[in-house]
């Protein structure tokens, strides 16, 4: 429709505003509604729990602390960016798999394995020059994540085992692997507690403020790379075609089995890189109980970002800010950080219920809440890739 209009009119402020609104209307409404639901949860939990003081304004205290913790100072903003970087990579991981009609619910396991591998290599090359050490450690994380992602891709391609069950199992196996390796071969000698040595020169350089490491730049590079891969290469076209219509892809001579393995490996590599960025940029070492919420948050990031690389950046920024601000919220308002999970689930809930929202708020011409996930449930069970 808009193509028919003259170019000047298409870029008129009103047209641009309408197009921007059509993309952000539903996410924005979902986020606002989720904040309201979160406030209700905070108030209601005071009623359920005996002995808690009743404070109707507690949600306001909590949210202002959240905002303060996320954007209140230069350091806070840098912390938000640091929390955002792995979410961008994880969101790309889940989003890329979505494009091919695959649900990478196992980003968490790939994240953990990537983190483990880059610590192992980082410790081994801790004395080399930073350039060599960082490259090797990042590469190790990438490859370990890719290997962990290849397993469900391979199993789905050869046997039809659904990636949802397999990747969840691999998440739990990854936890055990980390506990075994950090408590065993990687354990630093002469320390009472199980902990790995420091990664030394493999640590990512700090670019902004006290904690803004180079992983933030790396994440943006990955966004550009994945956008290029998806929309400018044959591989990307094939991935999107398999995701949109596996049968059509097969008739066009594409190989869905191969694409499944490749997609899951790339997705795993991205999640592994996210793990590498966290250990090389923030913690510099690992404990047996190493774990973050990055892998699970990535699912919400990918869905809120509509599996689009640029959308994922903004979604990651939102959840990065929530995670970064949650600590201050817990300290100042006594609200457990799990509230962020509740907000996350509620945002997704409203996005998924987009048809209802559109009816209630009389939104016309806005895009659907969640895109390109239709084939995931369709390929459930054994009717997976057949060709």
């Amino acid at each position: 429709m808009s193509e028919a209009r003259p170019r000047s009119e298409r870029w008129a402020p009103r047209q641009v505003a309408r197009r921007v609104w059509s993309v952000i209307a539903l996410p924005l409404i979902s986020i606002l509604l989720a904040l309201i639901v979160g406030a209700i949860v905070i108030i209601a939990s005071q009623l359920v729990l005996p002995g808690a003081q009743f404070n109707l304004l507690l949600p306001l205290t909590a949210y202002s602390a959240l905002l303060q913790g996320a954007f209140g100072s230069f350091d806070a903003i840098v912390d938000t960016l640091v929390a955002t970087a792995p979410l961008v990579l994880g969101g790309l991981s889940v989003g890329f798999a979505f494009k091919a009609g695959l649900f990478n619910i196992g980003a968490q396991g790939q994240f953990l394995l990537g983190a483990l591998a880059s610590v192992a290599v980082g410790v081994a090359v801790a004395g080399s020059s930073p350039l060599v050490a960082i490259s090797l450690a990042l590469l190790a994380g990438l490859l370990a994540g890719a290997a962990w992602g290849f397993i469900p891709g391979f199993l789905k391609a050869v046997s039809g085992a659904h990636e949802v069950v397999v990747t969840i199992m691999l998440n739990y196996i990854a936890i055990a692997v980390i506990a075994a390796v950090v408590g065993g071969p990687l354990r630093q000698q002469g320390r009472p507690e199980a902990i790995t040595p420091d990664v030394g020169n493999a640590a990512l350089p700090i670019l902004i403020g006290n904690s803004g490491h180079a992983g933030i730049v790396l994440a943006l590079v990955a966004v550009a790379f994945i956008a290029w891969l998806l929309f400018r290469t044959t591989l990307g076209f094939e991935v999107r075609t398999v995701g949109a219509n596996p049968d059509a892809a097969r008739y066009a001579g594409m190989r869905p089995r191969l694409l499944t393995m490749l997609t899951m490996s790339i997705a795993g590599g991205l999640a592994g890189l996210a793990g590498a960025v966290v250990v090389l940029g923030v913690t510099h070492l690992m404990t047996p109980s190493f774990g973050t919420t990055v892998g699970f948050d990535s699912i919400a990031v990918a869905l809120l970002g509509r599996t689009n690389p640029v959308g994922i950046v903004f979604a990651a920024l939102l959840f990065g800010a929530l995670r970064a601000g949650a600590t201050l919220m817990q300290i100042e308002a006594g609200i457990p950080v799990e509230l962020i999970d509740v907000l996350q689930a509620t945002i997704l809930l409203f996005l998924v219920a987009a048809p209802v929202l559109r009816r209630v708020f009389r939104l016309r011409g806005v895009k659907t809440g969640i895109e390109s996930t239709e084939t995931i449930t369709k390929t459930y069970g054994s009717e997976t890739v057949t060709g």
Binding site: V165, V177, V342, G381
Partner: protein, 358 residues
């Protein structure tokens, strides 16, 4: 006999297989009750899966329903224990607070299921995304509340205890340990067997079962012969919620007496694997759950007492975490080996839209 055994055990490599067989025969009677206990939450998750998917609704939110029920059951017990905790009901160590807690837990499972049913049946959202949202919400909400509650470390209403059989029965060879496996149990673990059998018969022999399966295989045809597809799907998803809730309640009210954050540890998903391996039938799913859980029980047994000989040396050199990961490994291997020959209901995961009537 002993000479034969030691000769078999002495063969290189192959001897390990005999040693494993010998170890299994030796420990099976003692770990048999443990197998059913570990299988109970997995079996209930699988039954929930069968109930939903036979009617054409994919439910990966089982894990979330379980953790919700585990929390709600335990916390209801905490709230009621001061007033009703001392009303002893005389069976399975149950008191009134515990029983009401269980009922409320089941109701909470139905409520969470209703959300999934609404999203996947009425809103026609992607069912896997809907299930994922339920998992995130359930883990977030229970973690949030548990975090607030655990500051006061309250006392719960306790837990259901095992039915005590007379020692003489349990000491019978073979028969004794089979009886012990099924009857030396708490009420929820015992009920799983009854539910599996009843569910199997109803699903394949009753009008309700026929209708459920028709809705899952070919909803359009079912609608044509006058079956209300939407209603059948709602009913089955809500009933499935009761099963998943029983599995969750088992964890916090029978296996232990308190709630721990994330205590389901993937059992809902192992249940889905059991459902697939068991070919979407209750008895098959229960069998698969037993298979998966025997790896848990065996792992615990090996940690507790190593087998003798070379096998023991090898198993003992593995890190403890290997046995933690064993159930997940076994699930992947069996799932990958079986799934190609296991066919889901034809309309599984597809939202149903009524045709326009005019």
């Amino acid at each position: 006999m002993d000479a034969l055994v030691s000769a078999l055990y002495g063969i290189p490599i192959v001897g390990l297989v005999f040693q494993l067989g010998g170890y299994l025969i030796a420990v099976l009677p003692s770990i048999a009750p443990g197998i059913l206990q570990a299988a109970t939450p997995i079996a209930f998750a699988a039954l929930c899966g069968v109930m939903c998917e036979r009617a054409g609704v994919v439910n990966i939110g089982i894990e979330g329903i379980m953790i919700t029920a585990a929390f709600v059951g335990w916390y209801t017990g905490v709230l009621l224990a001061p007033s009703m905790g001392s009303v002893d009901l005389g069976l399975f160590g149950a008191n009134l607070a515990l029983v009401i807690g269980l009922i409320v837990a089941l109701l909470s499972g139905v409520v969470v299921s209703a959300l999934h049913a609404w999203l996947s049946i009425s809103v026609r959202a992607d069912q896997i995304i809907s299930g994922t949202i339920i998992n995130i919400a359930a883990f977030g909400l229970t973690g949030y509340l548990n975090n607030l509650i655990s500051k006061t470390s309250p006392n719960g209403a306790g837990s259901f205890t095992q039915f005590r059989l007379p020692r003489e029965v349990l000491d019978l060879p073979i028969v004794g340990w089979i009886i012990g496996m099924f009857l030396n149990q708490g009420p929820i673990a015992m009920s799983v067997i009854v539910i599996v059998v009843v569910f199997q018969v109803l699903l394949f022999r009753s009008r309700w079962g026929l209708r459920s399966r028709a809705v899952g295989e070919h909803p359009r045809a079912a609608e044509t012969v006058g079956i209300d597809v939407i209603r059948v799907r709602y009913r089955n998803v809500l009933l499935g919620g009761v099963f998943a809730a029983l599995g969750g309640a088992y964890l916090s009210m029978e296996a232990t007496n308190s709630f721990q954050q994330g205590m389901t540890t993937g059992r809902g998903f192992i249940g889905l694997a059991a459902m697939i391996v068991g070919r979407w039938s209750p008895v098959g799913a229960f069998g698969a759950a037993l298979l998966f859980s025997s790896s848990t029980a065996l792992g615990n047994s090996i940690k507790f007492s190593l087998p003798s000989g070379d096998l023991g040396t090898i198993l003992g050199s593995l890190p403890d975490q290997f046995y933690d990961a064993l159930p997940y490994l076994v699930t992947i291997v069996i799932l990958a080996g079986v799934v190609g020959r296991s066919v889901p209901p034809a309309a599984d995961g597809q939202p149903y839209e009524r045709e326009a009537t005019t």
